[in-house]
């Protein structure tokens, strides 16, 4: 006698020898495939509520007989997640679990950076304040400038050109030539002082 599989969870279960209806046959095959996938660790996320309920019963039987265990890597991840959840640290964006000690350390990183920056800034201000009254802050550059020959430095060209009379206003190229020749002398002197190296 064929049965109609219209109430999987609450309906009566036929005897083993009862001929299945096509609907029950199809449902049984679908359930068998779900069991196959579950046994190989690939339980599909989506299934009917009835199938899920039956699969849960099947898993209860398997778990009770010790066939289902949490993989060590999964276990470690769950422990890390739980610790992280408990201390309120954000979850890592992807991949493996971050040890909780590192997660906790991360919470202090912004404070450490801010503290260090403040200390460095305070030290810099203190150093400037302490060095300022001594008047040594400007002595270095001035002294160094005094040691350099005048022809090596940037300087006005007034001494070369002198006052420009109105009738010589058009001789700009002669004035530029004079300045160029003077600067070229300085360049040569500097170069020769270094043994001809640039």
């Amino acid at each position: 006698m064929a049965t109609q599989d219209d109430d999987t969870l609450t309906g009566s279960v036929p005897d083993p020898d009862t001929e299945p209806a096509p609907a029950e046959l199809a449902h049984a095959r679908r359930f068998a495939e779900l069991v196959d996938k579950t046994l190989s660790g690939r339980t599909p996320p989506a299934m009917s509520a009835d199938d899920r309920a039956l699969l849960e019963a099947a898993t209860v039987i398997r778990a009770t007989h010790g066939s289902v265990e949490l993989a060590p890597s999964k276990q470690r991840q769950v422990v890390e997640d739980a610790l992280r959840q408990a201390i309120g640290a954000p979850a890592p964006s992807r991949g493996a679990a971050v040890p909780i000690a590192r997660a906790r350390a991360r919470r202090w990183v912004p404070w450490i950076v801010a503290g260090t920056s403040t200390l460095v800034a305070a030290a810099a201000v203190a150093m400037l304040w302490l060095r300022g009254p001594a008047g040594t802050g400007h002595a270095g550059p001035v002294a160094r400038r005094a040691e350099v020959p005048p022809e090596w430095t940037s300087r006005p060209a007034d001494s070369l050109v002198g006052p420009i009379a109105r009738d010589h206003a058009g001789d700009a190229s002669a004035r530029i030539d004079a300045i160029f020749a003077d600067r070229l002398d300085g360049f040569r002197a500097r170069r020769l002082a270094r043994g001809g190296k640039p």
Binding site: F31, A32, L54, I61, T64, Q75, L83, I87
Partner: protein, 211 residues
């Protein structure tokens, strides 16, 4: 007695107590070895057999361990393992899951009620002993239900779900086609589920602890 060498259980308890005290003083990372030690038994003998769904069981385990870390200051050391306390948190979490899903409540109630009666957390110091006893109690309950099924249904479940033989082998052993074996297993699990939940309607499961 004091001169006798400490047993492994005593040493483990001593270490556990030290870690718990450290955690209660604020070093929550001290809970890690405890959680790593008991995550397996909680999953395999407490949570999964009551839920039947691996993904949900993982979620509940995670919540259980997180709650334990958050509430460790409330735990009072009484010379026994912390495991019964963890177990009770897990059972309460499992029951919460089933309360939200009335579909599977009968199945859950059967396990929650039965095992709470079987194992009194206060009567054992050794977590392993409690886990073993709980596993045994689960198994007796399952076997008792299997005995109520017709022979061919029981055999189908034993071959496919306990021994985990391939469908082809199961069908060959029963002398039927694979299609017929699929129907047998389908009906067998339906029958198991019906029988397994029947005890639950007699009593509400006890819910204890402040977790």
């Amino acid at each position: 007695m004091a001169s006798e060498p400490a047993t492994t259980v005593e040493l483990e308890l001593e270490q556990e107590q030290r870690l718990v005290e450290e955690a209660q003083q604020g070093n929550l990372d001290a809970m890690r070895p405890i959680l790593e030690r008991y995550a397996g038994p909680l999953y395999g003998t407490v949570i999964l057999p009551r839920l039947g769904d691996a993904a949900s069981a993982e979620e509940v385990l995670r919540d259980t361990l997180a709650t334990a870390v958050e509430k460790i200051r409330r735990f009072t050391w009484q010379g026994k393992s912390i495991y019964p306390w963890l177990r009770q948190i897990a059972i309460n979490k499992v029951y919460d899951v089933h309360r939200q899903s009335k579909r599977s409540r009968r199945l859950a109630d059967a396990m929650v009620h039965e095992i709470d009666v079987e194992t009194d957390p206060a009567s054992h110091a050794d977590a392993q002993l409690i886990a073993d006893q709980e596993r045994r109690a689960h198994r007796e309950r399952i076997d008792e239900t299997l005995q109520q099924l017709q022979d061919r249904y029981r055999t189908a479940i034993e071959l496919r779900l306990v021994q985990e033989l391939p469908r082809e082998d199961c069908a060959r052993r029963l002398g039927v086609t694979i299609g017929t074996f699929d129907v047998l297993l389908f009906r067998a699990v339906r029958a198991f589920r019906k029988h397994f939940g029947e005890h639950a309607e007699r009593a509400e499961p006890p819910r204890t602890g402040d977790t």
